[in-house]
Symmetry: C2
Subunit: 496 residues, 2 copies
């Protein structure tokens, strides 16, 4: 019989209908990005036979496209945090994450991660991942030096210091330029290759194979234009990325992000892993939520500016992480036709040289009145917002949005406005944060939070630690993917 | 075998495993609210044997709890619209709905509804539903007179007049007081009782019954503490409401609405219909979206006031529908600790007598400065917002939020502030707008938008016409439920 329960594309098949198994393994891993690599290494180290099936012709996934500033801390601090003079407790890190994700948070996963991310640091180091005992103090979206530690989120921005003591937790790999992701995947790929792991490239997972009780027993994979049946005695681990490249899924599940933004990820981020999981009863959660960014720094000096809507109103403390700013800017556009970043010439600084924002100059003015007219803002609105901001900034205060004193200084004539409206130039990258519900062990859960035997997942195929753009910090996704990839691989390997 | 694909709670069973059918019918309808009643009437009129299974001891569902101001128009206008001097074209109505729901809209359903809602008016009238040829001109959340026609949405509020000519489409039943819902369900129930329809009360649908190809062939229902197998030769129609009473589902699927709000619906709105649909592969969509309201009128005179956040900033044109205001107020609270409605004594008017908002007076002042201090707003912020508002209101203008001139007048001392913050008194009712994807015919769709044979749904078990609170108008849900309930019943009845 066909399994009646799902769309034809990813409909599972029954193991008893399979006459011949083409490949026999203990743990079958779908996807060879950060999560899949780590799952494979741990599963092999736990003694399991492991096979990886990767859609592309090489490893990497979206991890290789990222900056790979891995978010780690807690437990007294990583060696780098300690060397740089920071203390970080597990509770402090957990409190921070709770403040980040509110009622969308997965408390179990967060606690697990906060308790173990310093161990994860050691594990990465043992696999050759280099971290320098140094800090990058610049406000940056990514480290372009080989320095390690940097603030990659909202730790110092209102209201987060009320919830947790600010500590930097982004760990950049020791390599010049924005090359952390490629280096990380090169090292993890080498670790896979050193082990007795069968890697199949150009291999597309099509359907899960289940027994009569619904337990996952394998996966059908298309290799060389032929469908291969893969028996996975211990389990299948779905590490197939998110769905930012699947327009249908975006329109269906994440409509707020479905138009005008730029997906960042690899072409395989089509949600196939999520759909395979759903096809056997896995619950897909947090599907409406994406990471989105307005990367308005570098230059960091633009942080001295203010963001306003088409009423000339500010709407965020501009010292937030670019993801929080991006999300709020995007939501503001539900009732505002335009978003502008207002800066002075000092703040504008090296914008044309350093920025990759793509925002055009929408207006300039020797007076605010002039700029306000040029931007067609309500008469007096920007004058009020800016004069009020300046009056308080002079005293190091922002009674409206609580931008920290470090980023407060009066904005002086002449003025420049950058158009930060979606669709009018600026780069708004996004990727998905929804996926299969799972336990910290990697076990995929059904709607009643009961595990589906034999099915595991990690990375953006799951709803992991990061749940919203407004709480996101760089390194949370790679941290979550690599760490929970490891746990999922081990869990599958030791399953009885 | 058990069907492996879903959570145990609603796991479907295979028809070939059924030894005895307790009940045999053509069309089995789950739920006897507005959608279920209309489905039953149409299915019976199309010649099918029909059975209704209702959880409660009487008909009604959430329709009976509503005001039942049915949203209808287009096609030249309903008789009431015409009698009251309004013209309404199908395209105008469709343009309005498109503006309401943006990229969440279901174009097929909307077109179907706009083309046929005047026919629906006639159908309701034939079943005894009384509409008076009169208009209620007061801005009201519900009609307390027996007048029929009223504006129940954002038709006249910015930016909607840019998209469609404003026309009132809310049709209140001819009955005094807020009694439209009970009357509607009384009449529809009588129409059911006049037909040869088997109604089973105190009957809980548990699982769908499917054949080996995944087609739905019946439903298991618990009656008198015993499970009954119901064979539905033509189909099962799920009309079991939404999920506003299911806290787990809310936290999982609609986290923005899961805390501090008041669910409005009947106790059976637990999402059982949606979960049964999902259990056989139905796609649940728009699940993150709910209707939510801040019912700050009556008295309508409060519309002359302004809503501000804890920065003293306005964030919405206050002449919007209470659902749009409620949604924006709720979202504003992601970056604001307080929401206040600022009014003068004239605007406050009969608040204490007429309102059911529950908002407490947070402060009063003979000057704005005094009120601003009492509310702990940034110094000067409310003074700026209010003086700016007043300056323009005097000229009938609102260059910031484009409130219509009809609701613009300067707010005069002394001032009153009502605390509209969630959790501090005000009533924020909500219900869910996510559910099974379906065709206008009522056929339930899988993720690839392929129908699941034998399965139909209507009402809030589906994602219907209304998709967001910001685009909602009163009467859209009852209109959608009753109209598409009819179509679903007929579709099932004539299925080959």
């Amino acid at each position: 019989m066909s399994n009646p329960s799902h769309s034809s594309a990813f409909k599972p098949i029954l193991s008893r209908d399979i006459e011949h198994w083409d490949i026999d393994t203990d743990v079958a891993i779908v996807g060879f990005g950060g999560a899949g690599a780590c799952a494979a290494i741990e599963a092999a180290d736990a003694g399991a036979r492991v096979a990886i099936f990767e859609l592309a012709s090489a490893s990497g996934g979206s991890t290789a496209l990222s900056s790979a500033e891995i978010y780690m801390g807690g437990n007294g601090g990583t060696p780098v945090q300690q060397a740089c003079g920071y203390q970080d407790s597990t509770e402090n890190m957990l409190n921070y994450l709770r403040a980040c994700f509110g009622n969308r948070a997965d408390e179990d996963k967060m606690r697990h991660y906060c308790e173990n991310s310093t161990d994860h640091y050691q594990w990465l180091q043992r696999h050759g991942v280099p971290f320098k005992m140094s800090e990058l103090k610049e406000r940056a979206i990514m480290a372009l030096t080989d320095d390690c530690l940097l603030y990659t989120g909202n730790e110092k921005a209102h209201p987060f210091p009320d919830a947790a003591t600010p500590v930097p937790r982004g760990h950049n790999l020791q390599i010049e330029g924005d090359n952390g992701g490629p280096l990380l995947m090169k090292l993890l790929t080498a670790a896979v290759e050193q082990r007795d792991i069968n890697v199949h490239y150009d291999s597309r997972a099509l359907r899960l194979i289940i027994n009569d009780d619904g337990a996952v027993e394998g996966v059908v994979v298309r290799i060389d234009q032929r469908e291969h049946t893969v028996r996975a005695a211990k389990g299948v681990v779905l590490c197939a990325g998110g769905f930012c490249m699947n327009e249908d899924m975006l329109r269906t599940y994440a409509p707020d992000f479905a138009e005008g933004l730029v997906p960042i990820g690899n072409p395989g981020d089509t949600g196939a892993g999520i759909q395979m999981g759903m096809s056997v009863g896995g619950a897909a959660i947090n599907m409406d939520s994406c990471f989105v960014s307005l990367p308005y720094y570098p230059p960091s000096s633009l942080t001295y500016g203010i963001l306003v809507n088409d009423k000339g109103q500010r709407f965020i403390n501009e010292d937030c992480y670019h993801g929080r700013v991006g999300y709020n800017a995007l939501m503001a556009q539900k009732t505002s036709q335009r978003i502008y970043l207002i800066t002075d010439v000092d703040g504008y600084g090296d914008y044309e040289k350093l920025s990759y924002l793509g925002a055009q100059v929408a207006g300039t003015g020797d007076t605010i009145e002039e700029l306000e007219k040029e931007l067609a803002l309500p008469a007096g609105s920007l004058q009020w917002s800016l004069s009020t901001y300046n009056k308080h900034a002079k005293n190091g205060e922002d009674p409206y949005y609580h931008k920290s004193a470090a980023w407060l200084r009066p904005i002086k004539a002449p003025y420049v406005a950058l158009d930060c409206t979606v669709g009018r130039g600026p780069f708004y990258p996004f990727f998905t944060l929804g996926g299969l519900d799972s336990k910290p062990t990697g076990e995929v859960l059904d709607f009643n939070r009961q595990p589906i035997p034999g099915l595991y997942a990690a990375g953006r195929t799951t709803a992991g630690i990061p749940r919203t753009a407004s709480g996101y910090a760089s390194g949370m996704s790679v941290g979550d993917a690599t760490y929970f990839g490891r746990v999922a691989g081990r869990s599958a390997a030791v399953r009885r």
